[in-house]
């Protein structure tokens, strides 16, 4: 399945084996030898440990191809859980995922808005306790809490020690990250990138970002700014972006730009049912409304989205060219509602140039686009608790290290 495992700098050999089992879904001990490069006695020993800890279970046998049939191993999905929280202006989304990074519970609550951080921390802790209780999972099986942080518009959070405060309030280990990176890790954990060694999750919520996964590791850049897709310039003389630059794709064609254009077009606003004035909904709600109208075939809504999609596709082409990406997954709440409109247009932007012998890029929709951030937040915990990497390798990432030759495991 994934040739990345052998080249990933895991903190321990046990972490490497667990990661190989996760990546494969189901795999035999012989498959693990091929995937990790460890000896048979080492694999046998580590698998026994993982089974004793309850993290891995034996699950029937593989199809026989002559010789004896091999026992298959897989993650014991219900062995551990992780909480993921996406903190946003408008909405706080909570999920509880199992060991496979699949949501078993989800709830969305009113967002932080202008509320002061200490109050929000107390509320988050109480709501997490209720979520765990509602699923009936023993607290001891919950590995920790992943939190995806608010956008730059939430000034009151600057300087607030959110991680430590949440750790104190919840008594859970806390891991923090940004939305696009978390979404990319969630996609990677759930197998959405397949065996690609260079992949990106394009995250579209009310803004646009990209999370990169290179050789199975999220790449954030030395200052956490890698993958700022929303600020790729698609029009040198374009409108001023909130970041100060001109013509950023987010300013030209992001969800907020789409919604602004939709609200300004009175007949469109009437046709799709956008509410104006004091009744006006959030960007996310109005973007979803326009998207549903486009999917029903409303021509003006469709034209608006297709135009946005062309710019998003243009920016994506830039990212693909720079990073030599093999897989791009569209995810986040805006792609959850509008992905079927964007996907063909983005594909066209990436594949529509037969004269250039560029390798093909696989562009897909995420299977969990609507809840990608919160699920990704939970997988931050799964990764850091179960398959940690060697210290010092997290930032700035392994780009400067020589890639190890990839071996394809039998599993």
């Amino acid at each position: 399945m994934s040739g990345q495992v052998a080249s990933k700098p895991h903190a321990s050999s046990k972490a490497a084996v667990l990661d190989a089992i996760r990546a494969a879904g189901t795999i035999s001990r012989v498959g693990l030898i091929n995937a990790t490069g460890f000896t048979a006695p080492t694999i046998s020993n580590l698998v026994r440990k993982l089974i004793n800890e309850g993290l891995v279970v034996e699950t029937g046998r593989a199809e026989s191809t002559g010789g004896k049939r091999r026992i298959l191993l897989q993650l014991n999905h219900a062995a551990r859980y992780a909480v993921g929280v996406h903190l946003d202006d408008g909405v706080l989304t909570y999920v509880l995922t199992n060991l496979a990074g699949v949501a078993v519970a989800r709830i969305a609550r009113p967002g932080a808005g202008a509320e002061e951080p200490p109050g929000v921390v107390a509320r988050i802790a109480a709501e997490i306790a209720t979520l765990i209780e509602s699923v009936g999972v023993e607290r001891a099986r919950v590995l920790g809490l992943g939190l995806v942080l608010p956008g730059p518009s939430m000034r009151q959070w600057e300087g607030f020690p959110l991680g430590p405060e949440l750790e104190r309030a919840t008594t859970l280990p806390v891991v923090l990250d940004n939305d696009a990176t978390a979404a990319a890790l969630g996609e990677h954990w759930a197998g959405g990138f397949g065996a690609a060694s260079a992949a990106a999750a394009l995250y579209m919520g009310s803004g646009i970002g990209a999370g990169l996964v290179l050789n199975g590791i999220t790449y954030r850049g030395p200052r956490g700014n890698a993958g700022e897709l929303g600020h790729i310039c698609v029009h040198a003389d374009g409108p001023r972006c909130w970041c100060g630059a001109r013509g950023c794709v987010e300013a030209v064609a992001g969800p907020a730009a789409v919604v602004t254009a939709g609200r300004a077009d009175a007949s469109l606003a009437r046709a799709v049912g956008l509410r104006g004035g004091a009744e006006q909904s959030s960007v996310a709600t109005d973007f979803a409304t326009i998207s549903r109208a486009a999917r029903r075939g409303e021509p003006r809504a469709l034209a608006l989205l297709e135009s946005s999609a062309r710019y998003v596709g243009t920016a994506t082409r830039t990212l693909v060219n720079i990073m030599d990406l093999e897989v791009v997954v569209l995810t986040g709440p805006s792609f959850a509602v509008a992905g079927s409109v964007y996907l063909p247009v983005v594909r066209q932007e990436l594949h529509g140039f037969p004269a250039r012998s560029a390798p093909t890029v696989d562009v897909r929709l995420s299977r969990s686009a609507a809840t990608a951030c919160a699920i990704g937040a939970a997988t931050l915990v799964l990764e850091s608790e179960l398959v940690p990497l060697r210290q010092g390798l997290r930032l700035p990432g392994p780009l400067d290290s020589e890639p190890v030759p990839v071996t394809e495991p039998a599993g």
């Binding site: 199992n98 209780e133 509602s134 079927s340």
Partner: protein
């Protein structure tokens, strides 16, 4: 306002299927949007089986974690409304329910007729359907409606039951197409099975829609993005969720809740339905 401001919804199915089901996320978004206006949320819980679903209701009632429950996928001889009643949890059924239980119904009969009429208009006479599980009430309602409609149209229909998964869609399509007199058109009860059926038919060397017409249920991104794009029965799923939320809100406020209906689903004709090919016309009299 109630004690928790949460409304519970349990999906009993393997979690791996959830992300693959845009229908449910859209439905939940519809409920959520309306509830949020009243400071309420949807607590979604995905469990593997029926007994885990009942255990969740008991836990929620005991610990007062939800103010009401939205019950999905009502089954024949469904025991859940009675159990929820004993637990004191108000319930709104998304689908068919016994008289007196608040429900938001889909017009399954009218929608099946619309799907069949689309195929009959194109000239199809050998029709098959890959249904969802036969334990579900709406599966049986659609089956009865289809059998009645084909009888009065004087055509035949072959019915096989799947489980909504891609695997069952592919397998049953291959079975149907392997029969001595294969159907010229297949109706599927969801999007995933139709998509898998489309791929299975293409792998068998059939050209779609020349050699086989397909209609999916539950229009989703998957249907639009299929190649060719799938003709589907389209329900406004978001509005369905919205109607359910309205009933829930009335119920929590202690007001009487009438049974409500979604609009009849319409055919969205895309690239997988056409007149039957010459090999099927030879079967006509």
């Amino acid at each position: 306002m109630g004690a928790t401001s949460a409304v519970g919804l349990v999906l009993a199915r393997p979690p791996r299927l959830l992300g693959a089901e845009p229908f449910f996320m859209e439905f939940i978004a519809g409920i959520e949007e309306r509830l949020a206006e009243h400071g309420r949320s949807v607590l979604l819980h995905i469990v593997a089986n029926h007994s885990a679903e009942i255990a969740a209701y008991r836990r929620w009632a005991q610990q007062q974690l939800v103010d009401a429950v939205v019950l999905v996928n009502p089954t024949v001889d469904d025991t859940r409304p009675a159990i929820l009643g004993e637990l004191g949890l108000p319930v709104v059924v998304a689908g068919e329910a016994a008289a007196g239980t608040p429900a938001v119904r889909r017009d399954d009969v009218g929608s099946v007729r619309a799907a069949l009429a689309h195929l009959l208009d194109l000239g199809h006479r050998r029709i098959a359907r890959v249904s969802g599980p036969e334990t579900l009430r709406h599966t049986r309602t659609r089956t009865a409606a289809l059998l009645k409609a084909v009888r009065s149209a004087g055509v035949t229909a072959e019915l096989v039951a799947g489980d909504y998964s891609e695997e069952s869609g592919a397998k049953l399509t291959t079975v149907l197409l392997g029969r001595p007199e294969p159907p010229s058109a297949i109706i599927y009860d969801n999007d995933l099975m139709a998509l898998a059926g489309l791929n299975a038919a293409k792998e068998l060397g059939l050209e779609i829609p020349r050699d086989l017409s397909l209609i999916a249920w539950d229009d989703s991104s998957l249907c639009r993005l299929a190649s060719p794009p799938l003709t589907t029965m389209s329900l406004d799923v978001h509005l369905f969720g919205d109607l359910v939320a309205e009933s829930v809100l009335r119920l929590i406020e202690g007001q009487p809740v009438a049974q409500r209906w979604c609009a009849t689903e319409s055919v969205v004709a895309r690239g997988t339905t056409a007149a039957p090919g010459p090999q099927h016309r030879t079967h006509l009299t």
